[in-house]
């Protein structure tokens, strides 16, 4: 009896997941195969012809190969800011967890405030202009790092506490300088959180739409999410191209997830067993 309920529960969960996650994805794929007329109907129908390849070519060539520029920009922003995030957040988390001072409370409050207080766009732009960083890739990278740092720090800080302090001390006795202790002993042991961070943050930053919209104007600076605007306007929207575009820009985050998925699982189990 109990077994049957659990099977039913499992089936319900799978069905719900299918409706929420898989059906929209199937819809995207179907749309990407349609021509403009059929896609305008926006229904769940089988494509009348095979138009996928011409859609892809069209999307990539639009506005002087904007898609290519966008992919390069987005990749640079994502890779650099995730790298910086991982290193800085791990460092801050490490120091916060290890060194107890009377400033810890204040620092932790500021980190939390970074999560809670919404960023103000206009003053930020004004500041970026003052620093001559507005509309540049490195300005955008700094923005992404700043906005996402608190979350990463909180992830890391909790995990550093589980690494025995004896390891730091053993490394110090072995002759490690502070940076050696961090990069050779602590950071490798943080791998499971690092993977979580990489996945969560790179997907978030790669898919970021609003921040590049505010802080990174100009065609040369387009990021992938902004290319969606190419096919969407008040009067005419090419749905087949829009969905092809969506499909193309979904691929990189999907790859990141598929690649690191195993690592997340492996990292979790390695940490789970005492040793």
């Amino acid at each position: 009896m109990k077994k049957r309920t659990s099977i039913l529960g499992g089936a319900a969960a799978i069905a719900a997941t299918f409706v929420v996650f898989v059906i929209p994805f199937i819809f995207i794929i179907l749309m990407a195969f349609k021509d403009r007329q059929q896609s305008a109907l926006r229904d769940f129908s089988w494509p009348t012809g095979f138009h996928f390849w011409e859609n892809v070519v069209e999307v990539v060539k639009t506005r002087n190969w904007m898609m290519i520029t966008a992919f390069i920009n987005s990749s640079i922003i994502t890779v650099v800011s995730v790298t910086l995030l991982v290193i800085f957040a791990a460092m801050v988390g490490y120091v916060l967890a290890r060194r107890k001072t009377r400033w810890n409370g204040l620092i932790e409050f500021l980190v939390l405030a970074g999560l809670m207080v919404p960023p103000a766009v206009v003053p930020t732009i004004w500041l970026l202009q003052g620093l001559k960083l507005f509309g540049t890739l490195h300005g955008m990278i700094l923005i992404e790092v700043a906005y996402n740092l608190p979350f990463s720090i909180i992830l890391y800080r909790a995990f550093v506490a589980t690494i025995p302090r004896d390891l730091d001390e053993a490394a110090i006795i072995d002759g490690a300088r502070p940076l050696d202790v961090f990069f050779r002993v602590v950071l490798p042991l943080l791998w499971p959180v690092t993977v979580t961070n990489i996945v969560v943050q790179s997907v978030g930053i790669f898919n970021d739409f609003t921040n590049p919209l505010y802080y990174l104007p100009g065609n040369a600076n387009a990021t992938v999410q902004l290319t969606l605007y190419n096919f969407q306007s008040q009067f005419s929207t090419a749905y087949n191209l829009l969905f092809t575009n969506i499909l193309l820009i979904t691929i990189p985050p999907l790859l990141v997830f598929m690649f690191f998925n195993r690592q997340i699982v492996a990292g979790m189990t390695a940490g789970a067993v005492k040793g």
Binding site: P164, A170, I172, D174, G175, A176, D180, R184, W191, G275
Partner: protein
């Protein structure tokens, strides 16, 4: 070639003083054991020598250099931790070689040293494994290997055997002792296990409340404890104590009596105590013998018959309980009365301040 000199070493955390001025001198090649109950400051003292804790006051000299402000890596020490503290993401080979790698030792030399250390500790077959694939004893070996490979002047051990099971502990104890002979290095070893202390040490330092209670060879501490604390701490089972008054002083013997004992003679040079002095009598459980009309009479409580000896829990008239370890197998019954006697030369007396009234 390095001895150590601790001069009025102090450590406080805020207002709490945990090490209250320790003076100690350790010769090169000595095996020194710090013992004491939990929280006595023995680990803190070791960590101060290692450089993991700042020194609040006093001077620490290793070799002929004051090292108060010297980084741990430049003190010529190596430390073995209670938790082993092996780097989980590295193989045994890399764990042992980590210090050499940091010191930028050429690869060939490094490899040679790692393999030498592995040979000494018989763990050559473990070099490719990760710490998680090792047993407790093997991990302990790796931790020791990591220490020897650096060829330190001073080895520091922080309760290295307390995570091992009893049989393995005895084995590793012998190995550490052998290692000390082979390497001819100074070793400082912290433990709360007095059997380890007695078997390994050239010199035992008994600590309590951040103060050195006594320093001496194991047998010296056993036979001539300086105070009640050392007398109670060294030796197993624990020494029996009872409050007494000096009755009669005649020549080199003092007779003491109390609520539980009547006229126990204690060998003591003349002039140390006067009749009527309030004292504490200490007798080791092993020094009590059955007598027909002994000075100490009590009721037999729990009896543990081990075959070669019998451990008796004796309830004294005042309600205090003593332990007696009697030779051979004794068929004693719970509740029966038992009289014990004590060898005058082996009984110890302590004055009102808890200090030993020296027999010598």
């Amino acid at each position: 070639m390095a001895g150590l000199e601790l001069k009025q070493l102090r450590k406080s955390y805020g207002k709490v003083e945990v090490i209250k001025g320790v003076d100690l001198s350790i010769e090169h090649g000595e095996f020194v054991v710090f013992v004491g109950p939990s929280g006595c400051g023995k680990s803190t003292l070791l960590r101060m020598i290692a450089g993991l804790e700042d020194i609040t006051g006093g001077e620490l000299v290793i070799g002929d250099k004051v090292v108060n402000a010297v980084e741990p890596r430049d003190r010529g020490i190596a430390m073995v931790f209670q938790s082993y503290a092996l780097y989980p993401h590295m193989t045994v080979y890399d764990n042992v070689g980590f210090g050499l790698k940091l010191a930028r030792t050429p690869k060939a030399v490094r490899d040679q040293k790692i393999r030498d250390a592995a040979r000494i500790l018989q763990m050559e077959h473990l070099l490719d494994r990760k710490p998680s694939q090792l047993s407790g004893g093997q991990r302990q070996r790796v931790a020791i290997g990591r220490a020897i490979v650096r060829q330190p002047e001073v080895f520091l051990f922080d309760e290295p055997l307390s995570n091992l099971d009893a049989a393995l502990r005895v084995d590793m104890r012998m190995e550490i002792s052998k290692l000390h002979n082979d390497l001819d290095a100074t070793m400082i070893y912290v433990t709360h296990d007095q059997v380890e202390a007695m078997t390994l040490a050239d010199k035992i330092v008994v600590l309590d409340g951040g103060v050195v209670q006594q320093v001496g060879s194991p047998i010296e501490l056993y036979k001539h404890p300086a105070n009640l604390f050392v007398a109670g701490f060294i030796g197993s089972p624990k020494m029996n104590f009872v409050a007494v008054n000096a009755d009669k002083v005649s020549g080199d013997t003092v007779n003491v009596s109390g609520p539980d004992v009547v006229g126990v003679p204690v060998a003591l040079p003349a002039g140390k105590v006067r009749p009527g002095d309030k004292l504490t009598l200490g007798v080791r459980p092993h020094d009590l013998v059955v007598a027909t009309s002994g000075a100490i009479v009590g009721r037999v409580g729990l009896v543990e018959r081990l075959g070669n000896e019998t451990i008796v829990n004796l309830e004294l008239p005042s309600g205090a309980s003593w332990l007696a370890v009697l030779d051979g197998d004794q068929a004693l019954k719970r509740g029966e009365s038992l009289a014990l006697d004590v060898d005058p030369a082996k009984a110890l007396l302590f004055d009102a301040n808890g200090l030993a009234v020296a027999a010598a």
